[in-house]
Symmetry: C2
Subunit: 159 residues, 2 copies
Amino acid sequence: MNRLPTTDSAPSAAPDRLLEAPLAAEIEFLTARARALGSAKANALLQPLDLRVRSYAVLSLACSGAAPSQRELAEFLLLDPGQIVALLDGLEQRGLVKRETDPQDRRSKVIRGTAKGRSLLAEAAVATAQAEEQSLADLTSAERDQLRELLRRVAFQGR
Amino acid sequence: MNRLPTTDSAPSAAPDRLLEAPLAAEIEFLTARARALGSAKANALLQPLDLRVRSYAVLSLACSGAAPSQRELAEFLLLDPGQIVALLDGLEQRGLVKRETDPQDRRSKVIRGTAKGRSLLAEAAVATAQAEEQSLADLTSAERDQLRELLRRVAFQGR
DNA sequence: CCTTACTATTGAAAATGTCAATAGTGTCTT
DNA sequence: AAGACACTATTGACATTTTCAATAGTAAGG
């Protein structure tokens, strides 16, 4: 397993060389990479439940008691309203959420999780917690809180 | 602008209600949202240069002096090798990078930025710095360093 | 009533992500 | 040296995600 270069000084340790590149110091890039790793892991753990991070997020909000409208879901998740329609079509067909026309504003529909939806969400929450645990394995509890707070201020700038 | 409810207690302040939902405390979700906002902003500022965050990242690594192979690019950016091919096809056609067969391993190709590529990268770096500045406007310099370091440890777990 | 704005919905197009197969090259074993 | 096996870039197919424009129904204001 000897990897020491015999002749010159250049380290051949392959991939870590790029960690010195300026890109590796850009928060935008690090965020994208962290997210790619995280959602890949979460998707893998959610697969047995036939959910993805997307549908999990919608289900979670639907079951939160906040009873959001579709427009609110779109805004909060930064998704196109049309994507919300598609996601809800899937969840509603499986009996996990229901759409109710808002009596206050008949244009709007209020989304609520069903009992079945809440039941599945409980399982899904375990899966995502596991995924988060794996993704953040190197961070202490205090560091996770720090990270959460910093990200919250970036993700919800102005609120 | 009076929004006070006349009859009951429920606050109608529309979108912030969802901030109380459990999902809003999940680091995975916050990361995804921060990244969506950030790359949207970056893409907008890169558009005049005919770049996107994707091609910018490749160009940046190509011009870093690290002379990465395509496999290394794929691994570092968490992209499929095929996506790297497509990105490089575009950049190479514009004369921004060049592929050189690695004499040490003729399977592999080493990617380097051209003078033109470095010149465009200089402009692009300004754009992305602006985007980052806007995205992180609420954070102090010390907080940005904290965030960068925490994200680095999540994004490069084990290194 | 009429204009204007908003909500959910649909459909199309672009970008991104995932996967399998292949030709050329390196490496290791025998 | 030959053959088996692994790795690199490339291609093509396909699913998912993203972005955008158009529409029907509803609300709100003059």
